[in-house]
Protein backbone atom coordinates (compact mmCIF):
# COMPACT_ATOMS: atom_id res chain seq x y z
CA UNK A 1 0.00 0.00 0.00
CA UNK A 2 1.40 3.38 -0.96
CA UNK A 3 0.65 6.30 1.28
CA UNK A 4 -0.47 9.78 0.38
CA UNK A 5 2.63 11.63 -0.84
CA UNK A 6 1.59 14.64 1.20
CA UNK A 7 1.62 12.51 4.33
CA UNK A 8 5.12 11.19 3.77
CA UNK A 9 6.69 14.40 2.44
CA UNK A 10 7.82 15.62 5.88
CA UNK A 11 9.31 12.18 6.58
CA UNK A 12 11.28 12.36 3.35
CA UNK A 13 12.42 15.89 4.11
CA UNK A 14 13.61 14.86 7.55
CA UNK A 15 15.95 12.41 5.85
CA UNK A 16 17.27 14.71 3.15
CA UNK A 17 17.82 17.51 5.64
CA UNK A 18 20.20 15.29 7.59
CA UNK A 19 22.10 14.55 4.39
CA UNK A 20 20.60 11.26 3.27
CA UNK A 21 20.14 10.74 -0.46
CA UNK A 22 16.74 9.43 -1.47
CA UNK A 23 16.61 6.39 -3.73
CA UNK A 24 13.17 6.16 -5.29
CA UNK A 25 13.71 3.60 -8.05
CA UNK A 26 15.45 0.26 -8.36
CA UNK A 27 17.88 1.90 -10.78
CA UNK A 28 18.73 4.50 -8.14
CA UNK A 29 19.48 1.67 -5.71
CA UNK A 30 21.67 -0.17 -8.17
CA UNK A 31 23.59 3.00 -8.90
CA UNK A 32 24.15 3.65 -5.20
CA UNK A 33 24.83 0.13 -3.95
CA UNK A 34 25.94 -1.72 -7.02
CA UNK A 35 29.57 -0.65 -6.75
CA UNK A 36 30.46 -1.75 -3.25
CA UNK A 37 33.27 0.48 -2.03
CA UNK A 38 33.57 2.11 1.36
CA UNK A 39 30.77 2.39 3.86
CA UNK A 40 27.14 3.04 3.03
CA UNK A 41 24.25 3.35 5.45
CA UNK A 42 20.82 2.44 4.12
CA UNK A 43 17.88 3.75 6.10
CA UNK A 44 14.57 2.02 5.35
CA UNK A 45 12.09 4.75 6.15
CA UNK A 46 8.57 4.08 7.40
CA UNK A 47 5.42 5.95 8.21
CA UNK A 48 5.25 4.32 11.64
CA UNK A 49 4.99 7.38 13.81
CA UNK A 50 6.55 5.75 16.80
CA UNK A 51 9.37 3.50 15.60
CA UNK A 52 10.37 5.63 12.61
CA UNK A 53 9.61 8.73 14.63
CA UNK A 54 12.48 7.65 16.87
CA UNK A 55 14.72 6.20 14.19
CA UNK A 56 15.00 9.33 12.06
CA UNK A 57 16.09 11.59 14.94
CA UNK A 58 18.43 8.82 16.09
CA UNK A 59 20.16 8.78 12.73
CA UNK A 60 20.30 12.56 12.66
CA UNK A 61 22.11 12.54 16.01
CA UNK A 62 24.42 9.72 14.94
CA UNK A 63 25.43 11.50 11.75
CA UNK A 64 26.91 14.34 13.81
CA UNK A 65 29.45 11.86 15.15
CA UNK A 66 33.03 12.32 13.89
CA UNK A 67 33.05 8.84 12.37
CA UNK A 68 30.25 8.34 9.89
CA UNK A 69 29.52 6.37 6.73
CA UNK A 70 30.83 7.58 3.39
CA UNK A 71 27.32 7.53 1.96
CA UNK A 72 23.87 7.74 3.57
CA UNK A 73 20.92 6.72 1.44
CA UNK A 74 17.28 6.05 2.14
CA UNK A 75 14.38 4.15 0.64
CA UNK A 76 10.79 4.48 1.77
CA UNK A 77 8.98 1.25 2.63
CA UNK A 78 5.34 1.25 1.63
CA UNK A 79 5.96 4.16 -0.71
CA UNK A 80 8.83 3.49 -3.09
CA UNK A 81 8.11 -0.20 -3.42
CA UNK A 82 10.56 -1.15 -6.17
CA UNK A 83 13.42 0.76 -4.61
CA UNK A 84 12.76 -0.77 -1.22
CA UNK A 85 12.54 -4.29 -2.62
CA UNK A 86 15.77 -3.81 -4.54
CA UNK A 87 17.59 -2.34 -1.54
CA UNK A 88 16.54 -5.29 0.59
CA UNK A 89 18.22 -7.61 -1.89
CA UNK A 90 21.53 -6.08 -0.80
CA UNK A 91 20.87 -7.30 2.76
CA UNK A 92 18.77 -10.32 1.98
CA UNK A 93 20.09 -12.35 4.93
CA UNK A 94 18.05 -10.01 7.10
CA UNK A 95 14.29 -10.20 7.35
CA UNK A 96 12.48 -7.11 6.12
CA UNK A 97 11.24 -4.67 8.71
CA UNK A 98 10.66 -0.96 8.70
CA UNK A 99 12.09 1.19 9.90
CA UNK A 100 15.45 -0.51 9.76
CA UNK A 101 19.04 0.49 9.18
CA UNK A 102 21.77 -1.39 7.36
CA UNK A 103 25.43 -0.43 7.44
CA UNK A 104 27.39 -1.90 4.56
CA UNK A 105 31.15 -1.92 4.19
CA UNK A 106 32.50 -2.85 0.77
CA UNK A 107 29.12 -4.39 0.03
CA UNK A 108 28.92 -6.56 3.14
CA UNK A 109 26.42 -5.92 5.92
CA UNK A 110 28.45 -5.16 9.04
CA UNK A 111 25.68 -3.81 11.26
CA UNK A 112 21.91 -4.03 11.12
CA UNK A 113 19.26 -2.38 13.26
CA UNK A 114 15.83 -3.97 13.10
CA UNK A 115 12.56 -2.33 13.99
CA UNK A 116 12.43 -4.32 17.21
CA UNK A 117 15.74 -2.76 18.25
CA UNK A 118 14.25 0.71 17.85
CA UNK A 119 10.80 0.27 19.40
CA UNK A 120 10.35 2.05 22.68
CA UNK A 121 13.95 3.25 22.84
CA UNK A 122 14.99 6.87 22.87
CA UNK A 123 16.66 8.37 19.79
CA UNK A 124 19.75 8.90 21.93
CA UNK A 125 19.95 5.21 22.81
CA UNK A 126 19.56 4.14 19.20
CA UNK A 127 22.08 6.79 18.14
CA UNK A 128 24.58 5.44 20.66
CA UNK A 129 24.35 2.00 19.07
CA UNK A 130 24.84 3.53 15.64
CA UNK A 131 27.83 5.62 16.61
CA UNK A 132 29.46 2.57 18.17
CA UNK A 133 29.08 0.84 14.82
CA UNK A 134 30.41 3.92 13.01
CA UNK A 135 33.48 3.93 15.25
CA UNK A 136 34.04 0.27 14.54
CA UNK A 137 33.47 0.23 10.80
CA UNK A 138 33.72 3.77 9.45
CA UNK A 139 36.77 5.16 11.18
CA UNK A 140 37.18 8.70 12.41
CA UNK A 141 37.11 11.49 9.90
CA UNK A 142 39.54 14.33 10.47
Amino acid sequence: MSYNPLLVAPMREEMTQMGARELTTAADVDAALGDPKGTTLVFVNSVCGCAAGNARPALSVALRHPARPDEVVTVFAGQDLDATARARQFFSDYQPSSPSIALLKDGEVVHFVHRHQIEGRSPQAVAADLTAAFDKYCGATV
Partner: protein, 93 residues
Protein backbone atom coordinates in the same frame (compact mmCIF):
# COMPACT_ATOMS: atom_id res chain seq x y z
CA UNK B 1 10.16 0.41 29.54
CA UNK B 2 7.82 1.05 32.37
CA UNK B 3 5.36 3.86 31.91
CA UNK B 4 6.22 4.38 28.25
CA UNK B 5 3.27 4.09 25.89
CA UNK B 6 4.71 3.34 22.47
CA UNK B 7 1.50 4.07 20.58
CA UNK B 8 -0.60 6.61 22.47
CA UNK B 9 -4.19 5.52 22.99
CA UNK B 10 -3.35 1.83 22.99
CA UNK B 11 -2.02 -0.68 25.48
CA UNK B 12 1.60 -0.08 26.46
CA UNK B 13 2.81 -2.99 24.34
CA UNK B 14 0.79 -2.12 21.25
CA UNK B 15 3.11 -2.09 18.24
CA UNK B 16 6.02 -3.50 20.22
CA UNK B 17 7.70 -6.76 19.29
CA UNK B 18 7.19 -9.26 22.09
CA UNK B 19 7.83 -12.86 23.00
CA UNK B 20 4.74 -14.72 24.16
CA UNK B 21 5.63 -17.92 25.97
CA UNK B 22 3.05 -20.65 25.70
CA UNK B 23 1.80 -23.25 28.16
CA UNK B 24 2.50 -25.88 25.50
CA UNK B 25 6.18 -24.93 25.33
CA UNK B 26 5.81 -22.99 22.11
CA UNK B 27 7.03 -19.40 21.89
CA UNK B 28 5.64 -16.70 19.62
CA UNK B 29 7.58 -13.63 18.49
CA UNK B 30 5.79 -10.78 16.77
CA UNK B 31 4.26 -7.36 17.15
CA UNK B 32 1.75 -7.14 19.95
CA UNK B 33 -1.59 -5.70 18.86
CA UNK B 34 -3.94 -6.21 21.78
CA UNK B 35 -5.14 -8.65 24.39
CA UNK B 36 -8.77 -9.67 24.09
CA UNK B 37 -10.90 -12.35 25.69
CA UNK B 38 -9.84 -14.89 23.07
CA UNK B 39 -6.17 -14.27 23.59
CA UNK B 40 -3.27 -12.14 22.44
CA UNK B 41 -3.54 -10.69 18.95
CA UNK B 42 -0.16 -10.42 17.21
CA UNK B 43 1.10 -9.38 13.79
CA UNK B 44 4.03 -10.70 11.73
CA UNK B 45 4.66 -13.69 13.94
CA UNK B 46 7.29 -16.42 14.03
CA UNK B 47 6.71 -19.54 16.14
CA UNK B 48 9.20 -21.77 17.92
CA UNK B 49 7.71 -25.13 18.74
CA UNK B 50 10.83 -27.23 18.78
CA UNK B 51 10.24 -28.47 15.28
CA UNK B 52 13.30 -26.71 13.88
CA UNK B 53 15.63 -28.67 16.14
CA UNK B 54 17.04 -25.37 17.38
CA UNK B 55 16.95 -24.52 21.08
CA UNK B 56 14.69 -21.64 22.06
CA UNK B 57 17.65 -19.47 23.06
CA UNK B 58 19.43 -20.09 19.77
CA UNK B 59 16.22 -19.49 17.85
CA UNK B 60 15.54 -16.22 19.67
CA UNK B 61 19.12 -15.10 19.10
CA UNK B 62 18.72 -15.79 15.41
CA UNK B 63 15.44 -13.86 15.23
CA UNK B 64 17.10 -11.03 17.11
CA UNK B 65 20.07 -10.80 14.77
CA UNK B 66 18.48 -11.49 11.42
CA UNK B 67 14.95 -10.31 12.10
CA UNK B 68 11.69 -12.11 12.54
CA UNK B 69 11.01 -14.72 9.93
CA UNK B 70 7.29 -14.16 9.59
CA UNK B 71 5.13 -17.27 9.40
CA UNK B 72 1.78 -15.64 10.23
CA UNK B 73 0.71 -12.14 9.23
CA UNK B 74 -1.76 -12.26 12.11
CA UNK B 75 -2.09 -14.77 14.90
CA UNK B 76 -4.21 -14.98 18.02
CA UNK B 77 -2.46 -16.90 20.76
CA UNK B 78 -5.35 -18.41 22.74
CA UNK B 79 -5.76 -17.03 26.24
CA UNK B 80 -5.32 -20.49 27.77
CA UNK B 81 -1.97 -20.83 25.97
CA UNK B 82 -0.48 -17.54 27.16
CA UNK B 83 1.96 -18.12 30.01
CA UNK B 84 3.89 -14.86 29.76
CA UNK B 85 4.64 -11.84 27.62
CA UNK B 86 7.88 -9.90 27.49
CA UNK B 87 9.48 -7.42 25.16
CA UNK B 88 11.61 -9.07 22.52
CA UNK B 89 14.28 -6.40 22.91
CA UNK B 90 14.91 -7.90 26.36
CA UNK B 91 15.51 -11.35 24.90
CA UNK B 92 19.07 -12.68 24.90
CA UNK B 93 21.30 -11.89 21.93
Amino acid sequence: MAGHVFHPGHEALHGVTVVVTGQTGASYVGRYHEQVERGVVMHDVAVHDGGSGMSLDDWLARQHKFGIKVEHKQLIVPAAEVAGIRRFAAAPD
